[in-house]
Amino acid sequence: MSHWAAFMTKVRETLRRGDVDRELDEEITYHIEHETERLIAGGIGPEAARRQARAQFGNARAVREQVREEYGFAGLEAVWRDLRHATRGLRRSPGFAATAIVTIGLGIGATTAVFSVLNGVVLRPLPYDDAGEIVRVSHTDNDGDRLGIPDGAYFFWRDNATTLDAVAAYLELSEPLHGAGEPLELGMIIATPSLFEVVRVAPLYGRLFTEEDAAPGAPDVVLLTYSFWQDRYGGDPGVIGRDAFPESDMEVIGVLPPDFDFVRPDPTISFGSPFDEPQIVMPLTMRQANARYGNFMYQGIARLAPGATPEAAATELMSFMPRAAETYTGSHTPQSLREGGHRPVVVPLKRAIVGSLEDTLWILLGAVGFVLLIAVANVANLFVARAGARGREIAVRRSLGAGWGALARASVSEGVVLSLAGGALGVGLAVVGTRALLGLAPADIPRVEQIGIDPVVLAFAAGVSVLAGLVFGLLPLVQFRGAADGGAALREESRGGTAGRDRQRMRRGLVAVQVAFALVLLVGAGLLLRTFANLRAIEPGFDPAGVLTMRVTLPESRTETAASEAVSRAREMVALVERIETIPGVEMAAFTADLPLDGGEYRDYVAVEGALPAVAEGERAALEEAPTALRVFSGPGYLTAIGARFVAGRDLERGDFADYPQYVVVNEAFAAERWPGESALGRRLVQWPNDPEQDVWYTVAGVVADNREASLMTPPEPTIYLPTVFRPDDGFGMWITDMTLVVRMSAGPAAADPASVFGAIEREIHAYHPEIPIRAVQTLGAVEARSFQQVSFAMVLILVAGGVALLLGAIGIYGVVSYLVTLRTRELGIRIALGASPRTLRRSIVREGAGIAALGIGVGVVAAFLVSRVLSSMLFGVATTDVVTYGGVCTVLFVAVILASLGPARRATGVDPVEAIRAE
């Protein structure tokens, strides 16, 4: 009971500290007056009595502090006072404080910058209700292709899945909008209304669409995305109920909120051409009666049932597959699905959006974390050295009864004050650093708008600061733990020489740790450097210099000719290309549907004459027996324009496109696979052999050297370059509307800066037709560079981190070796007096540095072996245990250490023997 009362007393007193202070003052005043009266009564004059009473009482201020110490709930009071003392103490040694603050500030700044990117991109939840439950659903197969979901799967899952609360299917389309008198390309999402059960958003204005809006025959309705509503309609809410576009008969029913941004172009599944961001969202009409388990063309998004995991959902959807395929009969049977290795992939939406960047960011956080540790070790070293300089003072305080706890509190307070100041500096640096980081980062970094300094980032910086402060405040204390009483410490201190043995050992240890950390970072940087070099060394098979590319979409055909629309469109593209070629500085122009290394590769069954797979009567299954090849649709002169090298024959020519082209170009790999040891020229092939009556045959006109198509890292595979136009009866029944122009500049200023010609090209295109939208303007060099952007991003950062680590490590070595020289001044003096050669002395000093380095390198190599494994997914053509990298890094570190020890060593030989011996 009275324990409880005591506790309450303490709480109350803490809460009303002001009152307590006043009451104590009153009590003290009363005491002194009372004592004064007593003394006066004893016959002493009033003034003298007052003085004596004060003297007897002692230092009233100290009493007040002590009393405060006696209550102060949870010691908060004491902590604050300790911090104030520490600040006062540090102000007396500004050099030390500044060095420590800057060092720790750099470490915390770098760490906080990377953390703020990680926080914005990866850690912050998506802006939806229970966003963690939203998953993207797709499929994959034995070829590792990424597939969407068939409509049959959508209906089956919707009706049966217990792991999914809601499921939606959608398409991403990009369509030119004509008649507006301006080039306009609409990015559209066409989705089942269930999308809004998955992504629960409330409309900013108006309403969302419902199942009635998606019913067949219902009037067309559209939702506008926030940015499109701002850009095109000036943010006017009055647009609700009106036609979205002049005479479009599409009624705007609502405006979506700004954070409706779950859709990212996914070129591997995208049905239409990819777009940057959607502008309108429309209901997708799907008839359950017509649904098939066929084309895996829809994007799937779903909300997990409470408690369900993505893995559980994937397992359940997998188990549905045979029944679903039987319910919704299509081109796939349970057997063909099994043989194809089709299986559902369920990935949390955030992971789907962020992708492999998440891993890179964690690795980078680890790297800057190492720099922070090195910075902490460096400051800890300063602390240890300072404790050494103050060893006498500390020894005296200890022998006067200061407990270990009091010393620890003082030291830790100093550490925390310094690291908090460093942390504040660090947050400032992080603001700048984040911007620099984003400048380096891959251009299409997702959720980039989420990156910033928010409370989470601040809490991170503060937490790291306090932790760092504790570390380097406590480390120097370890050396005092052995000294049982202050007397021993004092005696040891006054003897001077042997005093800091513990301290020396600790400082050496700290520097060795720095060397080890630096080694780990430099090994990481080295491995990425070699990866980068390997990527750069790859011959892409084309020459990106001086080539500008852009996506264009021709409006509906204007020329009514006898030829089919496909042919007339090809003729229009040729006409457009010929206009562009009149621009000064342009050497040639061409078009293609698929730029190399730009995502989206397509494989088709391709058979060559004489090796046609046996086709049983009308059986499509025979298709699967034809080998596949990568297929690139190209216009006349495309391969020449990108600088591909022809091994034999010629490129497709404009003349070939006057009617349905009959020719094809193949690469060396294809020729070697299908016609080994023979010439490919003049041979014939058929794409998607289907029906001998209708198959369209192409004759090989040329053979090009192997290109990298899918990615730089993917070795070339057999590829055919088909004309962009093909007969409508070849089984496709469609043509390509969306083309990429490839413009090669002639030598000179245009070639040096292809983008400078863009204005002229744009004018020429719009002179041809004002409504042709132009998108994705980029140099071919930029397309290529994107392939190693993530590697170079990580490489530059880790290289900088490693460089800083190396520098800090070298400074550490320099400091410790210098200190050793100072300690050994007397010994060195004697040796010089006895005639030791300067070389011998220098060597003995450098050996000290080398010893520390050897220890650090030994530990670091082991650590690097263990740690570098996390990089393996980013590496290309180099093992994580690469001997060259390890050897190189060890050499660099060792040389740096020797150089850092040379300065102090030279000073050692300059010791004046007479001075040195007399000094003690």
């Binding site: 009153e26 009590e27 003290i28 209550y71």
Partner: protein, 114 residues
């Protein structure tokens, strides 16, 4: 015993204060005055150190305090021993007697030996 000196002093002062308060509730000056008198002016400790000690005892629940008006009509804080404090005092006195007896014995032995 591994007590450091300050703890010893602190403990002694606490003991003296508790002992003084067994007589009657007193204010700080009164306690100091009484200790001085009772110890024949041997314990003329720094009077200021009385207050942190009183606060400490109060926190441990051994004494309580309240503001009262003194005979000559002035406000002063009076300290009272609690039952818990009384028990603590008994314990400490016993402890003290045991240890001082031990010290006595050692001293006597040492004197005989010397």
């Amino acid at each position: 015993m591994s007590l450091i000196r300050s703890d010893l002093l602190r403990g002694t002062l606490d003991l003296l204060i508790l002992k003084t308060l067994t007589l009657e509730p007193m204010h700080g000056w009164g306690v100091a005055q009484r200790i001085r008198q009772l110890s024949d002016e041997v314990f003329d400790v720094n009077q200021g150190s009385m207050y942190p000690a009183l606060r400490r005892l109060q926190r441990k629940g051994w004494v309580t305090s309240e503001w009262r008006v003194t005979d000559n009509n002035r406000r002063a804080r009076y300290y009272t021993l609690t039952p818990l404090g009384r028990r603590q005092l008994a314990d400490e006195e016993e402890q003290w007697e045991l240890s001082s007896a031990a010290v006595d014995r050692v001293l006597k032995l040492a004197l005989q030996g010397g």
